[in-house]
Amino acid sequence: MKSLKVYAIFYLIFLYAPIFLLPLFAFNSSTVIAFPLDSFTTEWFTTLLTLSEMHGALLSSLKIAVTSAVLATSLGIFAAMAVSRYSFPGQKGIMGFIMLPLVLPEIIVAVSLLIVILRMGFSTGAWSVIVGHTLICTPFAIAILQSAFASLDPSLEEAAYDLGETPASTFRLVTLPLVMPGIISALLISFTISMDEFIIAFFLTGAEPTLPVYLFSMMRFPKLLPAVMALGTILVVLSVLLIVIAEFFRRRGAKRTGNDTGGFL
């Protein structure tokens, strides 16, 4: 076990090494991304402020991420309730298909949506990215919400009903508060996935790029690389922050219902 632990620690370092490089070069004054480091600067972050195109991309990314998160979580609630409460004909097939985007290469999702959209005579834009992101975020939302609904003792709802509440007020007074941590967690995860997603956005974004698409275009210009590092740092910090909050809510929900299955997947 001891040698395994050493291996595990090296493995973690390997996992995190690239991410740790981000802030190193984001705050490094040299325009070349290489060792040895030069001196400390926040210049690259100031550069970001001047890139007005980036602000537009950030705005459209936020818009897309919020909408996709709300849609995916709503769709997730329906599906998670259905599978954790009821058994229905074709359940395995239907759920398998809904969860398919988890393993389907994103380029397939992107290409197939693009074909349909263009064929139907629509033009791509933020809305088509939202459609694609909702599709790929829903399986994650379902996975989180399903464990939230599954750990909810069904007799709690029966008890509320038995004590005089209607099905609607039971949902509001008992179900919703108890799965709320799961819902928040699903929203945050979906938001993060959408914010970071590149391929679907690349194919479907149309005239206004999202932040990752804009970042991708920046990567072609060596002059902009330090700024890419700065923007990357911000994005990674934001993602990690959101994920930590999501995990906090997921655990709080698990603690309340007294059932921690651990992990998102």
């Binding site: 003792d153 009903y161 038995d162 004590l163 007074l173 008992v174 007294g258």
Partner: protein
């Protein structure tokens, strides 16, 4: 026997309740009358339909045909939240996001009481179940026994006509269970409302109930008070389910209008009509008798009724009691005898020859 209880007013009346889950016939024509203020138990092995029947009364389960009446009102189409029944769930179903007091006051939301009145009612209910001063505690921090009490208080605060309890003690350890049994009996006497308890534990049902309905495979096999159920089970299956019952084969015949049973190893005796719940069989039969109706005779003791010779097969020592498995002469099958241990009297050894006293009136004859 408790004849006084027979003049109770009927509160719940069920007629020919039928229920299917797909192909599975869960309830097969249930007929039952439960009185006001009665402590009633539904007893049976798992899968016998007792919980389904309880949930039918609560309004959680639909049924195919038949009637459930409470206080003379047909309950068909009345949802669980509109019925004068409240339930204590097997898992207790304490809302983990609310405090103890909020849990207890949950059902009072639409009662029209003021906030202070609700708080007072909740506090009184908690006091009744022995949880005075626990109101501010978080529900998820309670022990099993405390959750059970909160569930009781939460149901009783609504003053239902019927309290339904679904295996409420099964999650507790033995000591706690025995303590709660006594408390539940006291509580029921105090509030005076009808309790309907679902349990698979025959001892629990015997201890707590005014009357017990024993269910097998969606049917009520027998509905009686505990003493009758124990002494005069109506079928071999009920006899076997309630407590320990010894069975020996026998031959039956009628002679001069007398019902004569010849029990293997015990000999011939006459039996009365009430000892033959399934009617008096002609020819081969089975005879059942409880372990405590047999007594081992020590040196110098004489039998009060009849006597038979036997050999001790096995001895199981329980401290206050000793169980002897003995074989009557000429019989292959062992029967169990329970003897209270008396200080200064030795426990007998395996292989000893003994005389056993038995009373003909304790026999029950099955076809």
């Amino acid at each position: 026997m408790t004849t006084a209880k027979k003049d109770r007013k009927t509160l719940i009346s069920m007629q020919n309740i039928q229920k299917h889950y797909g192909d599975y016939h869960a309830l097969r024509g249930i007929n039952l009358e439960i009185g006001e203020g009665e402590f009633f138990s539904l007893l049976g092995p798992s899968g016998c339909g007792k919980t389904t029947l309880l949930r039918t009364i609560a309004g959680f389960e639909d049924y195919d045909s038949g009637y459930v009446m409470i206080s003379g009102n047909d309950m068909r189409g009345v949802p669980a939240n509109k019925r004068p029944t409240n339930m204590v769930f097997q898992s207790y179903a304490i809302f983990p996001h609310l405090t103890v007091a909020q849990n207890v006051a949950f059902g009072l939301r639409k009662s029209g009481m003021s906030k202070a009145e609700k708080a007072k009612a909740a506090e009184q209910a908690l006091e009744m179940v022995g949880l005075k001063g626990y109101g501010h505690r978080a529900a998820h921090a309670l022990s099993g026994g405390q959750r059970q009490r909160v569930a009781l208080a939460r149901a009783l605060v609504l003053k239902p006509k019927v309290l339904l309890l679904d295996e409420p003690l099964s999650a507790l350890d033995r000591k706690m269970r025995e303590q709660m049994q006594v408390e539940l009996i006291k509580l029921q006497r105090e509030v005076g409302i009808t309790f309907i308890l679902v349990t698979h534990d025959q001892e629990e049902a015997l201890v707590m109930s005014d009357r017990i309905a024993v269910m097998f495979e969606g049917e009520i096999a027998q509905c009686d008070d505990p003493e009758v159920l124990y002494r005069r089970p109506k079928s071999k299956r009920v006899a076997d389910f309630i407590g320990v019952m010894n069975f020996l084969s026998a031959e039956c015949r009628v002679e001069d209008g007398k019902k004569i049973v010849n029990v293997a190893g015990l000999g011939e005796t006459e039996v009365a009509d009430d000892q033959c719940p399934e009617g008096f069989p002609d020819g081969a039969a089975t005879v059942g008798f409880r372990p405590e109706t047999l007594t081992l005779l020590y040196e110098g003791q004489t039998a009060t009724h009849r006597e038979a010779a036997a050999t001790i097969d096995e001895v199981v020592y329980y401290g206050d009691m000793t169980y002897y498995d003995v074989r009557f002469d000429g019989v292959d099958k062992a029967v169990r005898i329970s003897m209270r241990n008396i200080f200064g009297r030795d426990v007998l050894e395996v292989g000893s020859r003994v005389r056993v006293s038995w009373s003909p009136g304790a026999l029950v004859v099955f076809g």
